[in-house]
Amino acid sequence: MANIEEYTPIVGQSIIDDLRLLAEKLKGKVIQHINSTAVGGGVAEILSCMVPLLRELGVDTKWDVIKGGEHFFEVTKKFHNALHGRPEEITQHDFDIFLETSQKNIEALDIYGDIVFVHDPQPIALIKKKTGNKWIWRCHIDVSNPNQRVWKFLENFIINYDSAVFSAPSFSQRLPIRQFLISPSIDPLSDKNKELPQKTIDSVLRKYNIKKDKPIITQISRFDRLKDPIGVIEAYKQVKKYFDCQLILAGGGAADDPEGAQVLKEVMARSEQDKDMHILLLPQDDIVVNALQMASDVIVQKSLKEGFGLTVAEALWKSKPVVASNVGGIPLQIKHKYSGLLCHSIDGASFAIKQFLANPEYAKKLGQNGMEHIRNNFLITRHIREYILLFLSLYHKEDIVYL
């Protein structure tokens, strides 16, 4: 795990100095993060990196995880899909399961933070334990067009928080509490994003039997319908008619996502024994993900909905040309034709991939621009700064705060 000073060569000493100045202002406050899984998925990944760094800066930060059985996570996955606007049949029984497990967590979980920071809908009902402390609800989901029944159900909890946080402007809702825009981030020093020696990349390719003899198009994502892996395969097939290339679809599972196995099965069925398609269910191994991204010629993120799409930031940080859907937080990361190419369809994705494969200099330039954009806006140091400001905002209601 990197310490805070190791970020200085990447972001500059003054950025780190600012973080130390800000952290002092939170002296005496305990921050308690709560989410639903310790591993897998973007939230756990960010917290794993952020909690130790906040502690090192002197912010007393703790992290707790709620408990939930198979039924609970099936329901919360349905909520997740419905909030993303996907049709889901949600019954009263589902709400009852959610409330029942929530009640158990309310009884079991110790709330001790001066600031309680709840991530996503799974632990949202813990707000019932609010006393004199401050509570923040962090929504990592694209709720630009949510299923209203689920949103209204959650809204009953949300309105009791002090503030809510969303990842993109289009996710904001009319709410009686303050809402902030904070994008997630990547850690440039993590195993997933640090520079790798060529021999490590080569050994990962060997391990998965991938030859570097033709361009590699890659999508790294959980096997989830909202990531549209089938759409990626279709786009690849269109590209393949003109460029002899190969496709990697790779991803792991998350403890709170029971749907993954079924989607993987469907993807395998569609790959139809094409030896240039590599469908990889990965263990939790960030070096492998990093190596696959590094080895790629074009990286795709053809999501139908996206909470933010950190895989885009990861790819851009490696200066890779990226083709990604114009959804969720992706347009914040990609400025079309400047730091990548945005698409709205399978045809659009295949056209953009072909543009990159046919114009390597163009692809290189956009990748480089993308890297600078990530350095300025989507690294963990910016994220830590905004979280500290968010905590401080709980004690200041004005628009200009003098600290």
Binding site: G12, Q13, S14, I15, D17, D18, L21, L22, K25, S144, N145, F166, P169, S170, S172, Q173, R174, L175, R178, Q179, F180, L181, I182, N326, V327, K335, Y338, E372, H373, N376, N377, R385, E386, L389, L390, L392, S393, D399, I400, V401, Y402, L403
Partner: protein, 223 residues
Amino acid sequence: MPRLIKAIEPFRFYTRLHLSELTGLRASNLSQLLSVVKQVPGACIYHHTHRFLQQHQYLSPEPPNDFAYWVSKVLGEDELGEELASIDTIQFSTVRSLRDKIIATIEDYLKNNMSAKLKFAGEGEEFHFIKSVSFVLPTNYIAYDLIEFVDIVKKVTIDSIYFHIFESRLRLERKTNDFSNWVETSIGDKELSDSISRLDPYIHTLEDLRKTIINIVEQKLRD
């Protein structure tokens, strides 16, 4: 080399960090944009006219104006986009007067281009109103003369440069930027002060601006 002047009052560098607060307000067409621009807090107008400066600092300067960008790219009203982009922000000393200019520009355009009212943003492309919450705090950097000043300008964050050049002038309604003010009142160098205040910061990237200020001051120190 002339004797180095000690400042009457040292210059304490501050920094300004910000959070974006979502309002939940959005616009799908020009009429809605105009109506919301009239009612949102000044912190919103400030955000949408200054956000670009900090987020795209390595791009060549873009119109420091979200309204212009949205009107051109989403509604396809290039002419109005150009008019909004070319509002000379440096001429306005308050957010209030800047807002009035934006309103007048849109209203004039709508009067002469009735069909523009009929254009709607596609789903997901609405204009979302955001406001800027600023946190201002002192850094540990203090300059007692111009040599120390220029050394510090080289190493402070661009957030600090941003605060002293943009925010203090427009949002805190000081008459000029903080650097010019200090050079004039504490160093007593009116000529150098004027050179810095003559800069139009809106046509530079922040890193460019830093370099330009360093050059102006170093040139003065050499003379």
